[in-house]
Amino acid sequence: MSYARGEQVGTIDEHGHEGGRSINWWGMIFFIASEALIFANFIAAYLYLEIRNGNWQLPSELTYPLINTGILLASSIPARFAGAAIVKGNQRNLKIGLFFTALMGAIFLGGQVYEYTGLFGNHFTPSATIFGSSFFMLTGFHGLHVTVGVLFLVICLLRSLRGDFTAKNHFAVQAAEMYWHFVDGVWIVVFSLVYLLPLIRG
């Protein structure tokens, strides 16, 4: 059976109950998939150039990136916390979760800016070498995604302050959470490639 619900038209299968995930959820998944593929292409380009040019070593310490990575990975926890809260209609925990996720994301970005400044000081820039080009391309593009993610979270936070979300109707929160986990997951790959690969190849 087919019915009209707000924006979109959905179908109910022949047995009469709603079939699995919502249409919006599927939309978001495929959107994230295509984003992930852009990253896959950047990563492929990075590896291609890395292999052609040999061993790339960053002219900086690993400490900051490591701390940053810890923060970013940990930020998935409050994100999940917020998502779980709103399903039960818990407004307070939703706000807390969103706030801390966005905050940790912002700290990550700050850390990245700090790291970039150091690298620029070392004359390691996008135009200096092909390693510089590739490094800033990959981490910068990821940083851009973190920025978008933080904005997304902040918007959700503002809307939650207005009380826009309910236990039934909170797709934006769900989408923000999905996006955030995705940005997190990509960082694991980027981090391993940019910072850990040189260690292994020594």
Binding site: M1, S2, A4, E7, F30, A45, L49
Partner: protein, 563 residues
């Protein structure tokens, strides 16, 4: 169970009332998949005329040796924009338009999954297209070919030996930004198709009962989703190189021009199947209706499409045989390219088997469909020849390739598109295009296409490179080029016949009725044109030909067929 009354749909119509109610406003603000489909198709056709006019200029310049009609600079912009326009602004929006209009109707849905995103996609295409074309106003249209190779795309005209450092001129920026925009639109469109087709089919319409056009649109949407990221990434790196000073494609600084080629073609090859699969789908709808038989080997046509989809990601370097890849790699890509011919052959045979033993009605639509098979076969056999690596060393970047790509794209996609237009026009407008004019158009086009593009094979064998604005008169290429130019103008005449037909039909065409072809699929089970909510009652589907079943309850497929 699976019924619903018209009362429920009123909520939909009522919601639309809140949009601007003027005629223009209604189109501009619309989120109805049918209106958007029409807008896509009209826009695409406009760009077809633009791209065609560019082609006519190209052909005029090449009609005789030492042509003086165009300067080198203009010529290079024209062929680049011709290829870019035809592929990104004509074929892709045209097929998206068909998909938009027809797919929800075919699967018994009331709209696409994300109507607003659908509208967004359309407007981005329109502005992206206008943005790209506006480059002509600045005299700086893209001029590095439709695949825009690095590092040429980082230079501009006349930079000469000073090479990579000089990046004035906006030509390539127009290209890269335009492609990024069109990419965004296509991603939005394909997301929409995937979700619509996977989640919004009418009850009973299992995956294995979907019309083949829907199947092919679904595969195409997946191909877009998975291939567009490559060209997006490539274009972003290009823009960074041009404006931030990175070195991704600059050999001297550790980058590699071939990186562009790998990224571009890992999009570009799936892309060519994006341009043909929906056409395959249209043919698979048209042939059965006019042969009065079900499609032969439904499962094989559908799954060979899936096979083509997968294989298309493994063949990209067949555009790069001459760049000096290791022999083993070349052998791999030759093999995968050869493999992809098999599922294509399966389709062709099944189409012919659909006609065989049928009761063939020669409407204009059917003639285009049959013409499609005949012409695409030529293009496909050429393609198979191009996969023969040592032979490709000889003919790559010659007119032999130009001939191949036009046989598959014009003889293939464009023929199918016209077949589709003649087939669905009555549904869309309520009027039948004039059959007589349609047949004139068909024969003119068939002659024109072969006259234009067949000589190009021979030109290629005779050593004529592509993308040359001029050629010397003593190389034995003169007659064939002249023939080809004459052919191009015959094609132009055939298209004018169509434009005339279109205008006449809209003003005074014969009324079509809801089901002029005695067709099989659900879109014909609506009024012509369909109401905003498509179906009064969402039908329940029990076989692959639901409307046939409804019209022939005694011999319905679900009673007689074994699937």
């Amino acid at each position: 169970m699976a019924t619903r009354t018209i009362g429920e749909s009123i909520r939909l119509t009522k919601r639309r009332k809140s949009f601007s109610e003027s005629y223009i406003g209604e189109w501009i603000m619309t989120i109805d998949h049918k209106k958007l489909g029409i807008m896509y198709m009209v826009t695409a056709f406009f760009f077809f005329l633009v791209g065609g006019t560019e082609a006519l200029l190209v052909r005029t310049q090449l009609a005789v040796p030492d042509g003086k009609v165009l300067t080198a600079e203009i010529y290079n912009q024209l062929f680049t924009m011709h290829g870019t326009t035809m592929i990104f602004l004509f074929v892709m929006p045209m097929l998206t338009g068909f998909g938009n209009y027809v797919v929800p109707l075919m699967i018994g849905a009331r709209d696409m999954a994300f109507p607003r995103m659908n509208a967004f996609g359309y407007w981005v295409v329109l502005f992206g297209g206008l943005f790209l074309s506006a480059s002509f106003l600045f005299g700086q249209a893209p001029n590095a070919g439709w695949f825009n190779y690095a590092p040429l795309n980082e230079l501009t005209t006349g930079c000469g030996a000073t090479a990579v450092s000089c990046t004035t001129g906006l030509n390539t920026d127009f290209w890269a930004l335009g492609i990024l925009m069109l990419g965004v639109s296509s991603i939005a469109g394909s997301l929409n198709f995937v979700v619509t087709i996977l989640k919004m089919r009418a009850p009973g319409m299992t995956i294995n009962r979907m019309p083949l056009f829907t199947w092919m649109t679904l595969i195409t949407a997946f191909l877009l989703l998975f291939s567009l990221p490559s060209v997006t990434a490539a274009s972003i790196l290009l823009l960074l190189d041009r404006h931030i000073g990175t070195h991704f494609y600059q050999a001297g600084a550790g980058g590699d021009p071939l990186l562009w080629q790998h990224l571009f073609w890992s999009f570009g090859h799936p892309e060519v199947y994006i341009l043909i699969l929906p056409a395959f789908g249209m043919i698979s709808e048209i042939l059965p209706v006019f042969s009065r038989k079900p499609i032969f080997g439904y499962t094989f046509i559908a799954w060979s499409g899936v096979a083509i989809g997968f294989l298309s990601f493994t063949v990209w370097a067949h555009h790069m045989f001459a760049v000096g890849l290791p022999m083993v790699a070349q052998a791999f890509f030759a093999t995968s390219t050869t493999l992809i011919a098999i599922p294509t052959a399966v389709k062709i045979f099944n189409w012919i088997a659909t006609i065989y033993g049928g009761k063939v009605r020669f409407t204009a639509s059917m003639m285009f469909a049959v013409g499609f098979i005949a012409m695409f076969l030529i293009g496909g056999l050429n393609g198979a020849a191009l996969a023969v690596v040592p032979f490709d060393y000889q003919v790559t970047d010659t007119y032999f390739v130009i001939s191949h790509l036009h046989y598959v794209l014009f003889g293939g996609t464009v023929f199918a598109v016209f077949g589709g237009i003649f087939y669905w026009f009555p549904k869309i407008s309520g009027r039948l295009l004039n059959e007589r004019l349609g047949k004139w158009q068909f024969w003119l086009m068939l002659v024109g296409v072969n006259l234009t593009f067949f000589p190009m094979h021979i030109l290629g064998l005779l050593g004529m490179p592509r993308r040359v604005y001029t050629y010397a008169g003593n190389l034995g290429w003169n007659e064939l080029n002249l023939l080809s130019t004459i052919g191009a103008f015959i094609i132009a005449v055939s298209i004018m016949v169509f434009v005339w037909n279109f205008i006449v039909t809209l003003r005074s065409g014969e009324k079509a009725g809801d089901d002029p072809w005695d067709a099989y699929t659900l879109e014909w089970d609506t009024s012509s044109p369909p109401k905003a909510y498509n179906f009064e009652v969402i039908p329940t589907v029990r076989s692959r030909r639901p409307f046939y079943d409804k019209k022939n309850p005694d011999i319905a497929d679900w009673k007689t067929a074994t699937h």
